[in-house]
Amino acid sequence: MSAVAQAVMRPTTALHAGWLLFERDLRLAMRRWEHVADPLVFFLMVTTLFPLALSPELSRLRDVAPGVLWVAALLSSLLAADTLLKSDAQDGTLEQYLLSGQPLTLLLLAKTAAHWILTGFPLVLVSPLVAVALGAPAESLDTIMLGLTIGTLTLSLLGAIGAALTIGLRRGSLLLSLLVMPLAMPLLIFGARSSELAIGGHSAAGPLYLLASLLVLAVTLAPLTAAAAVRISID
């Protein structure tokens, strides 16, 4: 049993166990960069497709920039969601979490947080470059980044539910995407609208608040739901 798994099983506070898991996931990911790079490269390539498919004219691209950014972020997140639980499920660590006596909800929240840092956060960092490449004005960039931060956090949480439901299934990744996509549509609507308003020079407060409320809902309910799903999938 790994040192971290041992530590998690030791009688310790739930919060500490969560923190250990969070650290461990980040450290493990440092050894395998491809998990981090894949969603990022996917995001960059998808956003490149649109100028190629539509037009090199920035004025035209500016109109579709919000949609392109958010759809690409959604697709990247769905692609990345599979990796949240896959390796732990394969090597039996997931069962250790169940047996550890620590609240699974908190452990999953910790894992999702680490997962976001590895897959969602890079998208946020890169988004100003992509947005500018699609014609967005400099003044809109901070709002775009804020919206994408909230949005990708929510997507990671939704993805956790999907990942937990599809553990070990063949073509699980595709199924995960199909299951999560309808749930992510409101997020897409509000998020793209917030970026659209920002690009147009208006206040994006309304949709941003709506996005934030979705995040609050997701943070409170998703880890719980994912924990129930893990139990259903593993037991």
Binding site: P182, M185, I189, T225, A229
Partner: protein, 244 residues
């Protein structure tokens, strides 16, 4: 009272009762729908604005209603099955899904067919049609998840959780789609509202809705019987009852 409830959860009992009830529900539904068809197509007068095209409402509205009602039913049954571990409830959820999906498809198709003469295009991203489309995706996801899991128990419970997540999201999705629709130019033709309802127009519509509901019960009972058989391991009552 308790023995009645226990019997309700007993598969062989439900199997037998369902078999006896199905023809009653089936024929009642048939008569109601036939009568509603006559009322809607023949007796009701043409609409002032939409002419005879409005008659599509007699199949569109009940389909849309059923698509939503069945989803909620499915989610409630799934939740009951998950919380109280009643296999029969899972059987009901599994049975309801394809029926609900088919009504959602019907709502979309009839909606498009109604939209073309009214708005001039086969598809419009109006709030209702878009919500119906997303509902179809929710149904398909539920069915796809079930189909991907070989173990019946895991399939039941995983899809139940998904259905609960879905039903919680339905109001969120609907609100966000309405919000999105009002932002951008709504279709220039006035919304596909119900025609000014005269009684001769309304009664066939209500009859059709009731007929569809009873029809759903009949089909549900047929499917549930099959689902019960799929889940039953013990030989005894199957060989006695099923051949009869």
């Amino acid at each position: 009272m308790w023995t009645w409830f226990h019997k309700l959860a007993s598969p062989p009992h439900v199997y037998r009762i369902a078999g006896r009830l199905t023809p009653w529900f089936g024929w009642t539904a048939f008569l109601l729908i036939a009568a509603a068809l006559y009322g809607g197509l023949v007796l009701a007068p043409p609409d002032y604005q939409q002419g005879d095209a409005y008659r599509i409402i007699y199949v569109h509205a009940p389909s849309a209603w059923m698509s939503l009602f069945i989803y909620v039913t499915m989610a409630v049954a799934a939740a009951v099955g998950l919380i109280w571990r009643i296999k029969l409830a899972h059987a009901v959820a599994a049975s309801a899904a394809p029926v609900g999906a088919s009504f959602t498809f019907a709502a979309l198709a009839t909606g498009a067919l109604w939209g073309q003469p009214m708005w001039g295009t086969w598809w419009v991203w109006d709030a209702r049609l878009t919500s119906e489309l997303i509902l179809l995706f929710l149904y398909l996801g539920f069915m796809a998840l079930r189909a991907s899991i070989d173990d019946v128990q895991r399939a039941d419970r995983a899809s139940a959780l998904l259905a609960i997540v879905g039903v919680v999201n339905v109001p969120i999705i609907h609100y966000s789609v309405v919000w999105w629709n009002t932002l951008h130019q709504a279709p220039t033709v006035t919304k596909m509202g119900a025609p000014s309802i005269s009684l001769t127009m309304l009664i066939p519509l209500l009859m059709m809705i009731v007929g569809f509901n009873i029809y759903f019960l009949a089909v549900l009972l047929i499917r549930v019987r099959g689902e019960i058989l799929r889940r039953e391991r013990s030989a005894g009552w199957i060989r006695e009852q099923v051949r009869a």
